[in-house]
């Protein structure tokens, strides 16, 4: 049995609407690209608007006359959404060309559901409620390079320069002996491209 390895590519986006081209170097013994994962680390705070009243901060000494009353409902709905931060494309030098294309989300911790902490519903369907795994692709690779392109969309949308780090995780199958290591997602592979 052959062993899966994980290659990590990391880059920082600094400008509004920045387009970043990059290469992912694969090991020479890689035979297949078996899965892709993405992640982001926000360096700029996402929420730049002032927080709502009644959050425990000292009050403004001169509040505006028309300041809204704090009417926090009993069930406080969490209005944080998971923004899409950009688009990622990966291109193989083999016949598959652009084999992976996705909108990269930034998923907040415990976001996308109301914070019903008393147990009516699970807290978040999008972050930690299911064990995560890579999106399987199953592309044979004869080259040791994958080209990638990432274009920023959150900066464009919010008309500001948002700094963040994007991580692309490329799982490859190599010719090494696996020594017993077989990752959980490998047994769940669904799509295999055969030539």
């Amino acid at each position: 049995m052959s062993r899966a390895r994980l290659i990590i590519k990391e880059f920082t986006i600094r400008r509004q609407g920045e387009i970043h081209f990059f290469q992912v170097r694969l090991p020479k013994n890689a035979t297949h690209i078996i899965g892709i994962e993405t992640d982001a680390l926000m360096i700029t705070p996402l929420d730049v608007s002032p927080p709502p009243l009644g959050d425990g901060r000292p009050e403004d000494p001169m509040p505006p006359a028309a300041a809204p009353a704090n009417r926090t409902p009993f069930l406080k709905w969490n209005d944080k959404s998971n923004p899409v931060i950009g688009k990622l494309k990966l291109q193989s030098l083999d016949r598959h060309n652009i084999f992976f294309e996705t909108w990269v989300p930034f998923v907040h911790f415990s976001a996308a559901m109301p914070d019903m902490s008393y147990g009516l519903f699970p807290k978040s369907p999008h972050t930690l409620i299911l064990p995560t795994g890579p999106r399987t692709v199953g592309i044979p690779c004869n080259n040791t390079v994958v080209y990638g392109m990432y274009s920023d969309s959150i900066g464009e949308e919010r008309k500001m320069e948002i700094r963040y780090k994007v991580k692309v995780f490329v799982w490859v199958q190599t010719t090494e002996a696996d020594k017993g290591v077989r990752y959980g997602f490998e047994t769940k592979r669904k799509l295999e491209v055969k030539l």
Binding site: I8, T44, K123, P131
Partner: protein
């Protein structure tokens, strides 16, 4: 017949934007590691700020920079699905090398917290 083995190892994260290393010596009776996950007393800080590296018997299971959020999950998941499966890696020299890197981000403020590497495997008496 091998027996079930499960153990947690804590790493204190005391400073922001630093790497913390821990070398774990397994007991000689532990023959293989089959699953692992990362837990924390401040899941939000681990989720937004954490990345790690994990070697078992000098074999790279997760390379440097792999995000902690990729191996975390809520306790609402059935316990047998909560840990990441890595097949069956024999422990060999009995060493697990764990490196955790905390990175500053724009959403959280650092406070000291604890990261726990939880492993499961097989042991023989």
């Amino acid at each position: 017949m091998s027996k079930f083995f499960s153990r947690d190892y804590d790493v204190q994260i005391t400073a922001a934007a630093q790497t913390f290393r821990k070398t774990i010596e397994l007991d000689k009776s532990v023959k293989a590691i089959t699953h692992y996950t990362i837990l924390s007393n401040r899941e939000d800080l681990a989720y937004y700020r954490g990345s790690f590296k994990l070697d078992i018997n000098k074999d790279e299971i997760a390379p440097d920079g792999y995000s902690v959020k990729k191996v975390m999950c809520w306790p609402t998941i059935p316990p047998d699905a909560r840990l990441k499966s890595i097949g069956r890696r024999e422990t060999g020299n009995g060493q697990i090398q764990f490196e955790y890197t905390d990175s500053n981000d724009g959403l959280t403020t650092f406070q000291p917290y604890v990261i726990t590497l939880s492993v499961e495997g097989e042991r023989e008496d």
